[in-house]
Every structure is written in C-alpha cells, then in structure tokens.
C-alpha cells in the first residue's frame, strides 16, 4: 500500500511541476489555462488519492474527496471565466489551429496596447 501511495503522491507532484512549467513556458494565455488545469485536476486528484489511505477516519476521507471536487468545480469555472474574458477583450493571440474569425464576439474591443504581440 505504501508504495502505491508514494507512487500516487509523486505523480501528483509531477503534474503540479508540469502545470507550473506550462504556466511559465507557454507563450499565450489559452495554452497557460490548459497547463494549469492539468495541475488542478490531475495533480490534486492524484495527491488526494495518495493521501486517502492515510486518512484517520471515513469523514476525513470524505472531506478530502470533497476538497478535490470543490477544486475541480472552481477551477473549471475559473478557467471558463478567464478564457471568456481574454477572448472578449482580445488580450491574447489565438492558439495554433484556431480560426481568427471566431474571435470577434460581435463587438469592437480594441487591441490592448500592453500586449506585446497583439491579436492578429
């Protein structure tokens, strides 16, 4: 059991490292959202799974699962909100493969001068 726990927790930490790496290395905001959801969903999920066998009681274990579910719901909503915000205000260029004509969203938000790249 202990080895399974070590494996799960290590994998969870690995996903957190990967998520942070993605946050730092990806060069547009949409890809960064993709990166951090890996840490939120998989990283914390594996971590919780790894901790579960050490939980002192059933309620404690349920609480751990509840924490994971809450983070899942919260991070999914936050990702949606921020992606919507970025798209609406054209703060970032589109990731590769997306069609630019879908960005307009029916309004004339002007490009943000603080953005180095600008929407193209």
């Amino acid at each position: 059991m202990i080895y399974v726990q070590i494996l799960l927790v290590s994998l969870g930490c690995l996903f957190f490292i990967v998520g942070t790496l993605g946050l730092l290395r990806f060069d547009d905001a949409y890809s960064r959202i993709h990166a951090i959801t890996k840490a939120d969903n998989l990283g914390l999920g594996l971590l919780v799974l790894g901790i579960l066998p050490s939980a002192l009681s059933v309620p404690q274990g349920l609480k751990l699962i509840l924490i994971w579910v809450l983070v899942l719901a919260a991070s999914a909503t936050a990702s949606y909100l921020i992606a919507h915000y970025i798209k609406q205000h054209q703060l970032s260029k589109l990731p590769h493969g997306a069609r630019p004509d879908t960005t307009a969203d029916g309004q004339d938000a002007e490009p943000d001068p603080t953005n180095e790249r600008g929407p193209q």
């Binding site: 930490c13 998520g19 942070t20 951090i36 901790i51 983070v71 991070s75 609406q88 001068p113």
Partner: protein
C-alpha cells in the same frame, strides 16, 4: 526507507518550490489575465501543500484550512473578471462593455 513524515515533508517542499516558480508568471505577466491565472494555480497548489502538511505534521485541522481555501479559490478570479475592465493604456475610459 525514510520515515513517513519526512516523505510528506518532501512532497510539500516540492509543491512549495513549484509555487515559488509560479511567482515568475505573476511578475512577468504580460497582461492582468496571466497574473490572475498564476494566482489561480497558487490557490490549488496551496491546497496541495496544506493537504500534505496535514499528513506531515499530523494535524487534521489543516484539512479544514484546505477546504476553506478550495471554497474561496475562485473569489479573486470572479472579482477580477466581473470588476476589472482591461483598458490599461493611455486611452480615456470607456463604459464597460456588457455583452
């Protein structure tokens, strides 16, 4: 074979290091949305650190702290999206565009 609580400390230490690396994204931006994304990751990593520390320090009360943090993880993001208009340049203010 290292002791169990040392292993938990090790895990939380690794998570703390990723948290500190995430500071770079807050610092470099380039736009406010990127900074808020980094803050969002901070919340989740904080939950992870609290859960591992709860095991390392044998303090089940820390799970409650993690629970509160998980509940309130999005509140700053919601405030940002709902209240912050993205005009950051020298342009004069425009009414907030509501779709």
């Amino acid at each position: 074979m290292i002791e169990a609580h040392t292993a938990w400390y090790l895990a939380s230490f690794v998570l703390l290091l990723t948290l500190i690396a995430g500071l770079l994204r807050i610092w470099h931006g380039p736009n406010p949305a990127d900074r808020m994304l980094a803050a969002q990751l901070f919340g989740t990593t904080g939950v992870g650190i609290l859960l591992t520390l709860a095991q390392a320090m044998q303090m089940p009360a820390l799970n409650d702290v993690a629970l509160v943090l998980a509940l309130l993880a999005t509140i700053a993001m919601v405030a940002f999206v709902k209240r912050m208009s993205p005009q950051q340049g020298p342009t004069k203010s425009q009414p907030e565009d509501q779709p």
